[in-house]
Structures are given as C-alpha cells and as structure tokens.
Subunit: 338 residues, 4 copies
C-alpha cells in the first residue's frame, strides 16, 4: 500500500515540498457526488499558516482537479488533485544538507533511500503533502456531512495548557525562545451508524490509528477514556446501556463509541498526541552524514513553532477518508452519493 | 483484509470461542524456517490463564500444524495452525443471551451481524482467538530472534500501580469485589535495523498501532515519549544525535526509535493502554435486545479480572507479525530464513 | 495476496496433498446466508474421480466446517472448511523423488522453495487443493443462485473432439496408451446485472482470468468470440444493440457479456484451455536434481488421463468467488444474504 | 485496487481523454534507478498513431514527471507522470452523445456511473490512458533491461494474415471500407529467473492475464502452446527436461516458461487476442439512452482501423509492471536498482 490508504475508497499521495507540485489520486468515489471547490478551499485554509504563531512560508494552496470531475460532479473515475508548489526557497535547506535534523525524518530517509531522497525542504516527508491529503479528504468530509455525519477536530491542549485562550501566547513564547511546543487534538465523529468496523485487524480503532499515525509529529492516539481507562475499574469504565427515545445508547462513553472494533452508535472520540515541531532554531547536535563526525546544526529556515493547530484539519481529513472507505465497503460503492 | 494482516507475510484468523477450534493461516513464510513447537508452546503458556488472578477456564492450548511444515521446516506454502476448543461451557452464556454486556462487543456484533453471530462465549470476538494469533506470531518471533531482533512486552502498570510486586494483590482485590482492573504494557523491539517503515500511510507506528488495536481491550497506544511529548518543548523532546562505536545513534529516545514513520536504529518502544475487563460480576445495566427494555445483567461465567498480563505475549506476537512482514517486503520473501 | 483472492469476499487456501488436510478460509461472507452441506457435497462430487476415465485415487471429500457457521447460517465471521486427506500413498511418489516430472510444478517448486517443499503427491501444488476451492465456492454459488445468477461450466472439447459422446472413449484410449489428453471448458454466467467490473486493472475479464489461471493445467482463456475475434472485422464482431421487452441487449454476444471490463447484462461467456495432464506413464526425460544428470522418469502412481472434466466444477467455483466478491464490493457486504 | 495494480511496485492510473491530462503514479520504486526520458519517449512513440493506418489524432505525448525523481534518479517516493491532452475535439463526440457505440464501453459506463461519466472521447475508458501506462511501464522496462531481462511484443497476426508485409495493406483496406480489423500480439520475456510467481491465485499467468485484460480490446490470452495444447496428448505437450551448459532447461517450450504458476527459466511466451476496433464509420444499430428507442449510429470522429500495432508496446509496458512487481516482492524493494 505504501502511499495509499483504503480498500473501496483509496487515496494515493505523491509530491515533494520543493518539486513541481504535491497531489493525490482518490479512487473508488461514487459517481454523482458534488465537488464543491469552495468547501475544499475552506478546509485547506484551516491548515494554512496564518498568524504570527505559524511558519512564515505563505502558499495559497491553489489546487487543480485534473481528472474525475465532470460538470461539477464526480464521474466515478479516479479524481486527481494537484497543488503546485510556489513559495519555495531551497537555499534555506542547502546550508544544512548532510546534517540531519534531530527527531526529523532526514536521517531515516537517508538510510532508507540511500542518499537518493529529495532532501530539499523535507521532500516527500514534508508537511506540505498534508495539503493534498486535506484537499482530497475535504471532498469526502463534504459527502459525509450530506449523510449527517460530522467530523470535528480541535486542539484541547497546547504546550501543556488546556485553556484555549492561552495557546497562542505559549506558542509565541516558544518561538521567541527559538523553540517549539506540542499539543493534543481531540476528534469527534457524530451521526455515525452502529456496525462500522471489523473485529480484529480491521477494527475502527486500528484503521483510524493507522491513518492518523501517517501524519508527521503524531506520537500517540487514544480512544474514549484511553490511557485513563487503564487506571479505572471495570465498574467505572463500563458504559452502562440505556434506552432513550427508543434508541439504545450508553450512559457514559468511555469506549469512545467503539466496542470490539465496531462503532456502537455513540460519538466516536479520540485524542491525538502531537509532539513539538522538531525544527527549532536553537543549536542542536547532529552528525555529518558524509564524514560521520558529530556536528552542530543551526536551522535558519521558516518553521512552525507548533503544528498542533495546523494538523487538526488534516486529522479530520484522514478520518473522513477512513470513514468513507468503511461506509463504501459496507454499503456499496454508490452509497456516498445516494 | 478483515481478518487478515500483512502484505508479504500474511496472517488470517478464524474460529469461535465455543466452536470446534480457533486457528490461523500464515502465508508468505520463507521456506526453510525451523518451526519449534516447544517455542510456540512457551509463548502460548504466557497468555494462558495461570494463577488465581486469571479466569478459571483451563485450556491446554494444544495446537496442531495442519499444513506448511515438512520435516520440521516451513515449506513456503501456507501454514495452518489449529487450536481445538475443549473446556467449553456454553450454558454459562445462555442465561444472558439477548442481554449485551456493557463495553463488550455483544451489542455491536448483534447490530453488525443482524443476530446471526455466534454469541456463545463471545464467538469470533472472544479473547480465545488470541491463542491462534500467539501461536502464529511465535513462529515469526523465533525467526526474528535468529536475526538478532528481540521483542519484549511487559506490564508496567496495573490498576494504576507501577510496582510490579503489587499487581497480583490489586487484581485479586478487584476480583473479590466482583470487579476488574486495567493496565499498561510496554513493548520494546531491539536489534531492529534502521530504514523499516514508510512515510505516510505505511508508517511503522501506523502498522504497529493497527495490529495492536486488533486486540480487544486496547484503547490507546503511544510511541516513545508519547502523550508526554505533547507537553514538552522541542529542545527537550528532540533526540540529539551522537556517534558511538562508529554508529550513529541518539542521546535520548523520545522518538521511540521511529522518525517519519521509519525505524532509526534505536529501540522501538511503545506503550499500550488496556482497559479493565468488561466482564464483571457486579450487576450492570443492559437492554433486552428482543423487547428493547432496560434490564439488569449479572454475569456468572468464568472471567479474567484483568487481561493485562495475558495480553502481553499477544502484543509481542502481533508485533512480530508486523516486523516480519516489513522485513520480508524490504529484503525479499526468503529473508527470514537466510 | 499469494494464496488469497478477493477484496470484499476473500478466499485463503492451504494444505498439501499428503498432509493432514486441505482447506480454505472464506472471509467477508454476509451474515445470514444458509449453508447447505448437501449442495457443497454435490459440487464436490462433480470434481471427484468417478469412472474408469479418472484417477484411481478415491477420496470421499468429507468436509468439516470448522468456523463461521451457527445454526446452519453464516455468522459473518470467517468460515473455515477442512477436508482431511485419507487415501494417501506417498510411496508412489517416493520412488521418483528428485526427478521432476516434465511440465509439472516439481521443478519450479524445487527452485522456488529451495528443496524445502513438501514434494509428496505434488504437495501444495496438488490438484487435491481444488477440493477446498470447490467446497468454498459452492457456498457462494448457492448464494448467487438465490440471487438469480447461474454459473455453468461444461466440457465443449476433449482430445480435439467436439462431440460429447466421444469424450470418454478418447480419454480411455489415451489412458490405454499411457498417455493423457486436454480439452476446453466453456463457462456461462447468466442473470448477471450490467455494471459489474472496473475499467483497467479490475476488469471483469482480468479478475476472472486471474482466478481461472490459478488452476493447474489452464493455459488459455478467451471471452466471447476470443481469438476468433482477432480474425473478424469490426462490422462482424460488433454486437449491435437492440431493445427487447423494454430491455437493452445486443443481437450477438461476441463481447462475451463484457465491454470496457464491465458486464453489459448479456451472458458472460468464456472458454478455458486445459492442457493434457502432465503425469503420464510413458517414459519421459527428466534430470536428477541432486546430481544434475539427465535421467529417465517412469511415473507409476494413480493419475488422471484427463482433468478437463474434473476441472469444470472448479472453474465454476472460482467464477462464483469472483462474481460474489464484485457484487459485495459494489452493493455492500450484506448483499448476498439480502 | 480498481485503477491500481501491483503489491510492491504499484501503478495507479487517472485521467480522461478530453480532460486536462492523463497520468499515473508509480509507487514502490527502488531509489537510485536512472530515469531516462529518451527511453520513455521511445516507447511512447511506438504506441503513437503514425502512418495512414492509424487514427488521424496527433498528440506529441509530451510527458512531465511531477514527483519522485531528483537529479535524474528515482528517489523512492511516488513518481507521478502527467501527459497533458492537447489535440482534443469533443464536438466529434457530441453529435453521438446518448447513442452508445456497439462493443464499446459507452453503454456499460453509462449503467455503472449512472450518467455521470465523462463521455467525451471515451473519457476514462479512452485508449489515450494507455499513454500513461506506457510511460510508467517504460521506466520499469528500462530497469529490467539493466537486469538482463528483455520483454518484446510484436504483431504476429493481423486481419487473419500472418505475413507481416501484408498487415498495412489489410488495415488500409478495412479503413477504406469504413471498417476495422483485429490481430494477435506475441510477447516474449527472456532472461527471467526461475522461481517467479506463486502457486494458485498469484500465478505468473494469472498476474500477466489480469494486467493484459486491463487493456481495451483484449479478448483472449494464451501461454506457450495455449489453446493448441488442449488438442495435444501429454506425450507431445510435455516439455522434456535436458541439461545444456550445466543448466537445466527443456527441449520444447509448450509451457510458455511457466509451470505451476511459476517461471521455469525458459522464455515466458504468451499471445494476446485483440479484437477489431469497435469504432467504425459504417452505420450501426444503437439505442437512444434517453428515450430507449432503437437508433442508427454513424461515427464520424478520427479512429484507428486497427489498434493491434499500437497496443503492442502497451502490452510490453504492463508486462514490465507485473514482472518488476514480482521481482521486488521476491528480492526486496531495492532489487531493481542494485
């Protein structure tokens, strides 16, 4: 699978940060789904660097749908979406070529691709590719909304703080220190039917986790009560059944809407742990990959002091991909446009 | 994929708790791998209920290799392993048929399979199937050991306690109360080469997460510093490079041995959050699936007051499956027997 | 995929000719499908050696459903079917161990599996495994019938003859000569909806071809007019549209019911070329795999002088698998039991 | 999988005939493979309409590599190749919109995509997409050549004639008659190692057949002796072993280089039956999809009176994809650049 995800609705990702474009192919879309370019632009705008708390790189994320849409509707053929790269300054990176950045993919990419990787700006590993994921995911997010399914991701913790009004200040403080911070994003899926997901290897938790760990910087995921459940007793953690309006639900939702890998009709809830951006301007220890000698690295490019805000819509986008795929597999290929 | 996992080395799971047997098919094994039945039995013994702190159900987990082994070695053809069910007492379950157990898969299975599911003892959702996963995984764990790769899982927290000597007491206390507890398992992979895993959708984290979330009771996973990283600054969280014995490593391992989805040569480390066993003997609120009325459930069967100890070898087993698959994909189908 | 086929309904094959059993796991079955053991036995009986024109090996093909069926209905969990081997005479093969049979898989298996393959009676390559395919396929064939879709395979040519009454005589004649013959099987699928299959890589033709070439002895497949179309002009070969009973059809069916990889509502028709059985008793040239010297091989075991009759129900079975998988993918996982 | 093929080396296809571009993403390429644009252009030129015997549509097939190549070498990241559409005359098609062409995909596309398909020039079904397949396949064909593996496809029969010098005349004659012809392409793979392919569902024959049937117009495939084998006796059809230069081979090659689904080291040989182009200018019977009434169709666009010559390099390209994928799976992801 590598750069692809999905069984019935399949996304394939390509592109490099400093190449011509990043893009994605979405295959298996139901024919007759409206494609609202404004909606795509809106979700893209949420991941775009905005205020002082984000990277100074500015890209309009202008996208072009190359195939799969005719008269504003999906045709059922693969939809290719391209986002050209424009504001590219490779020279920022050239200075440090050969000195891998700590906790970044530079070193592992070098080992894996034997020196042939496009190292400029992170190449294929760049966060820039999440624009393509977001654009593709937006098409499905919109389709899910038409089905009454909503997916919402929001930062619930930043730099260890839980009060939203303090987030920007904490990020700017870190930036001023040449440093970076992390945070936690909570995602909630509402309106989802019961019965989605499989026992064992295609559990809803596993499918979502695989998709969310695709995103650079993610180091943990927990569903419902998550790690806190490990410290509870069963009598506390179990979600007691109840009947309301003739519908079976549960009094609490420590299960995060999933039992035995399958959605139970309650909101699906998960938290994603995002580490602090590894690119900081403080001096760091690296090694010269040519000589093998230890070296000091000082990063001068434009970077985000925190990606936790910008990653939220991307988590929403991959969640939309996973849910769409599972719905199409369960109900058939035309389900999302019915 | 459903009940299968893997691309080059593929496991397919089948069976029900109260059917004839549980089992697994392992396909894509390198020919010429020794199959040590004693080694399989040893890993199985670690997940078997043992002391007073486990379920009273006693099964020898006698397994039979039905295919794929000839003269004690893998042939390269699919290896089918069967574990017959013996100590089956369906009547324990019959009393509560129609009353789903809170936070168990009874309700979601019922919705998904429309009442056709084998509900006896959890059927295909039963923890009993982890015996088949464990037996199959043991074959690969043994092969990895011959390659110098070790995988070790251990309980690092139980019932909120971190002192190993207090675990059994806490479990017995919960059992006496008709209740259950959860815990956290830490898994460490050592000896693993750098370069394993893919950027984006086939990241090492994503692949391991998908496999671990296959196991009932798992509600969270974190790699390296995990959720704690979300509260650190980049300057703390970044693993500074160093050179030791001519080999590039890092001074710390907050990344858990993975950057950009790819192993970096340091130990791969992750924590798994296991919720308290949902089957408790205290009365709980359920609903009668036939009448739709709220009802009280009292579970009388034999159950584990904690599965965190017994799930450890299963996490090791699925980890062995994931790592074997990635190695075979990277280095070729014969790699594990070379 | 290796020993598996399918995306939504997935078959996984295992076993060896002279091992404990052959078997298959069918995953992704809709819950609530009746499983009629008599129907399975009937299809199995069609591939079983019967008269003087078949191998003398006699096996009852007694099968056992190990999982996935409860109260006579599929549960939605993987269905494992086992067919124990009984009438096994490995000594017939021991004499020729190390001397690969011409046009058989002995040599390629030896190269691929490096000498670790189970060579007894063809091992995993044995036609015996088609019993497991047939048993599994029968379950789906039965489900398709309930949907009004029929699949029928029949021998239309044997030993170069097209008159059915002459087939058995030709086979017996070859047998008397220590030789073997081949033939052609025609398969017809009626009642199939239009719209099944995908353009390009998941074409209905490609999916069926892949499945049919899985069977040992198959060396060609053609759809509709097939190779004869290569000699026609477009004006002859094109199927002109017509309307009958308000339904769009075509006057001829040179397309074999498929255009652009997608079913068009006309019967799907294809021919399969089956080579003569490679196991003959006439002396043949082989090589001693240990010494590398040329050698003469005389096969003394029990063999079919023609497999074309026995392969027919197996082609039907794999066709049922492919069609079921495509229907489930198109209409959803529960479609076959609705 | 739909518009994708491959397990380790994966091609994903997109685009429409009259849209912005056609293209493909190649994922899983070994890093460090030289990408020779001249070589790609050369293979593309072989499928391009050339003389009077081809369609009058003229496209330079100018391609652009959007990602995955850096300094002339593959990086290991997905390679996206785009071929913009230029010489597009949709008005040729508008006249016949709503009247499906016999034996073309118009009708099946309409049924499958519910009227949302891009019908202009065949849309996603157009032979134009084979340019993208050919460009992508060329990269792998070149890599295989560096490994000593050659793939060659040639027309061995056209319009029922086997003398190559008569082909063009026959095509021009059909064109003059407003008609079209078909033919047979023979493909030969030399230099291929023994041991490639799997028994049963991933047989080399099945994998190649699936890939070749992806191409519009293909209605049959046979390996080695193919359909003629069905009329031989085993004693004729079996390839007797021999030893030459210390290497085990066979005296004949009726098996087409494959036994039990696995390559045996002899040349892999197969024939592909290509039907006559369905687009002819003679009047044909169609139906009006809106009114449901029978109608007469007269096609006026620019079309090939025979695609058998132009499809040859495309068969070579998909063959290169299949072989590359199998080699990468067997020997590891870096094999093709080693």
């Amino acid at each position: 699978m590598r750069n692809s995800i999905g069984t019935s609705v399949i996304l394939t990702l390509f592109g490099e940060s400093h190449g011509e474009a990043v893009g994605a192919v979405l295959d298996g879309l139901a024919p007759g789904m409206p494609v609202d370019e404004g909606y795509i632009a809106l979700l893209l705008s949420k991941r775009r660097p905005a205020g002082a708390a984000d990277t100074a790189r500015r890209e309009p994320d202008a996208f072009r749908i190359v195939s799969g849409v005719f008269n504003g509707m999906t045709t059922g053929a693969p939809l290719c979406i391209l986002i050209p790269n424009t504001d590219v300054r490779s020279e920022d990176y050239a200075a440090n070529a050969g000195l891998p950045r700590p906790s970044h993919a530079d070193f592992t990419a070098h080992v894996k691709y034997d020196g042939f990787e496009d190292w400029r700006g992170g190449g294929h590993f760049s966060g820039r590719l999440t624009a393509a994921i977001t654009a593709a995911g937006a098409i499905l997010l919109n389709a899910l909304e038409r089905k009454g399914i909503d997916i919402c991701s929001k930062v619930v913790e930043c730099a260890g703080l839980k009060d939203e009004s303090s987030f920007e200040e904490a990020v700017l403080k870190a930036k001023a220190d040449g440093d970076s911070v992390g945070g936690i994003v909570r995602t909630e899926i509402t309106g989802l039917e019961a019965g989605l997901g499989e026992p064992w290897f295609d559990s809803l938790e596993g499918a979502l986790a695989r998709a969310v760990f695709a995103l650079g910087g993610v180091k943990g995921i927990e569903f419902g009560g998550g790690f806190a459940l490990a410290r509870m007793r069963g009598s506390q953690a179990n979600d007691q059944f109840c009947v309301a309006d003739g519908r079976i639900g549960t009094e609490t939702n420590y299960s995060g809407g999933i039992n035995g890998g399958i959605s139970n009709g309650m909101p699906v809830v998960f938290n994603t742990a995002v580490k602090p951006t590894p690119s900081i301007s403080l001096p760091q220890k690296s090694v010269n990959l040519e000589t093998g000698a230890e070296a000091t690295l000082e990063i001068t490019g434009r970077h985000d002091p925190a990606i936790v805000r910008r990653i939220s819509p991307v988590i929403t986008a991959v969640t939309a991909l996973v849910i769409s795929d599972m719905l199409a597999l369960r109900h058939g290929t035309d389900y999302l446009s019915e």
